[in-house]
Symmetry: C2
Subunit: 370 residues, 2 copies
């Protein structure tokens, strides 16, 4: 199965004035000095898969300064046919997201159709951040292969918000709307159980990919694991909600449920967050992303695009070699690698036995392509 991005066009996207570039089906190096638009180009590619960026900016913030719209458009090749995806936004306007010229009713219907995995410095919170980041990680990977799951997560969040508002109201006004609470409990339990089961299945299926890749990248120097921690392992969610009603009313929020679960990352049996060295944590992150890649590829039978943003600076020579060997020799699809370090790049390209493109950027414009 073949899947890749043939070319992309951006206008006024972030710091791009206008870029129109075609890609190699396999290997693309995106080079240029700081602020030349490398990461923005990856962000544009990411937009076309996720209907939003990966850098935490709002859609409006992605319109280039002193202009009043942005446009990103990509031409893909999938199996035997071409597809286009485009995203346009006017200042203070509504985002328009289209596949093959047809607008989506709801953006989330697009998620998973153009699979993509990115490894970027923005990942660090996955290890060091609060448990919410790790839940989101699991949910996002599952969503890419199981769209109904994404709907369930969205529904759960909505009902949770409503239930919390009710609880807060009950706490503040001393009111006691038990019927409404009971309705929310039923809905929350239904969606919550679905989330719990999906995450259970995900962790079981995902862990072997992760362990294998971590071992390859690190040379298997230490045992690592991912554990799913949930009170639903030992409780029925509906019962928990009932039992905790008093506590929830006092707290003004829902104190139990899959929104409190943890995906525990360990190195040597201790939380990676506290126990891992910098190098171990980076290898852990990289393994999470590449395992995600392998997991999605196997599940949907299509190789996702792989975006590697500024990762060489973070790894020592041995791990760079391991990483290159990993992505070049293990059946990956189209890859995009950003780079500032020309010495390193020369070294990398000198050793490459395959064909590739180099895309040079400068001040948000395409400088040279070869």
């Amino acid at each position: 199965m073949s899947f890749y991005l043939k070319e992309i066009e951006t206008v006024n996207f972030r710091n791009h004035e206008a870029i129109n570039v075609s890609f190699h089906p396999r290997l693309n190096f995106i080079v240029g000095p700081n602020a030349s638009g490398k990461t923005s180009l990856l962000d544009a590619i990411y937009y076309l898969s996720f209907t939003k960026g990966f850098m935490g900016a709002t859609d409006q913030e992605n319109i280039r300064t002193q202009t009043d719209f942005f446009l990103v458009k990509g031409n893909y090749f999938r199996n035997d046919s071409d597809e286009t995806v485009s995203c346009g936004l006017k200042k203070d306007g509504k985002k328009q997201f289209m596949r093959n010229g047809k607008e989506y009713a709801r953006f989330f219907e697009h998620i998973g159709s153009f699979p993509l995995v990115i490894v970027s410095p923005y990942d660090q919170g996955l290890i060091n951040g609060p448990s919410e980041e790790r839940r989101k990680y699991a949910d996002s990977v599952i969503s890419q292969i199981d769209r109904p799951y994404l709907e369930t997560v969205l529904s759960y969040a909505k009902i949770l918000k409503q239930r919390n508002a009710l609880l807060k109201n009950m706490a503040e006004n001393g009111s006691n709307d038990k019927d409404m609470l009971s309705v929310y409990n039923t809905q929350l339990a239904k969606h919550g159980n679905h989330i719990y089961k999906s995450r259970n299945n995900f962790v079981q299926a995902f862990l072997p990919f992760f362990n294998e890749i971590y071992a390859r990248l690190s040379g298997k120097s230490e045992p690592v694991s991912i554990s799913y921690i949930s009170r639903l392992h030992e409780n029925i969610f509906g019962d928990l909600l009932e039992a905790n009603t008093q506590r929830d009313m006092l707290a003004g929020t829902t104190t139990s449920g899959p929104h409190r679960d943890e995906l525990l990352f360990t190195i040597n049996g201790l939380p990676a967050k506290y126990a891992g060295s910098q190098g171990q944590q980076k290898t852990f992150l990289l393994s999470l992303r590449l395992a995600q890649y392998a997991y999605i590829r196997q599940t949907i039978g299509l190789p996702p695009l792989l975006l590697l943003d500024d990762i060489f600076d973070k790894l020592d020579d041995q791990r760079v070699a391991n990483l290159l060997e990993e992505v070049l020799d293990h059946n990956y699809g189209q890859i995009f690698i950003t780079h500032t370090n020309l010495t390193m790049l020369t070294w990398v390209l000198g050793n490459l036995k395959q064909d590739y493109s180099v895309i040079k950027l400068k001040n948000g414009l395409l400088d040279e392509q070869r």
Copy 2:
């Protein structure tokens, strides 16, 4: 380094009338029908290492019915010299525990001197029981190689009990003995930090042994892990005690500290308790015990005695073969294996290329030895 039990003598111990048996330095099969005294013999051996039995009976309950004392005495060989250990108890009397004819002031001083690891059906609670069992497991393994740790655990338990009594008293009488509480907090924090650090080090050092043995026994069919979960990863214990004073007073007990830690056992990223099959759980247990063996042997440089109680019934043929290969080929010391299944035993012995003893028991007496 050589270490083994040369012979043992028991009188009125459990269902033994009187047994006097010598052992093979390497491999001993203890056979006989149900209630012939096989497990009691293992328990006697266990007594000499731990000053108590492994089956949960009180010392007094181990005196044979209608008699008024028991005696267990063992002769060991360690490196180049002989040593004796004996334990005697009179009905309603005080237990007398002696090494080389000299009585111990405190029993715990003996722990770890005659290292021993047992695998028995009584282990099941380690997977399925409450977190207390897993904390005790870690503490007992550490104690066998680090006697000061055992003292710390005992001191911690004592102060915890006193603090809880004070909290209960404060709750009931509305009193507020802040000075005393502050004294307890300081002591508890000191011992608690020691416990936390020792467990941290233990999990890190132990996990590679465990993973390696699990892989050998199971053929590496699934990822397993052990994770140490503690609030002390992210909090200073003294601060936690201070911060939770109000909560502790309301609860009448100490709600934070290493006595609440968890040693999480996972199979495929999910708690072994809920996710593992029967076979996986048994392999997990066996691996815990054999890893404990390897860990102790490496740390103290002496091969512990290994007691395998009734384990063949629980494993399929392939895993029995893996287990035998494991204990016969990997540098284990003296081994005791109980057995009721004579067909299986014949099969096992027929394939053995090494020398061994067979000890037949009948109604609590030695029936035959060859």
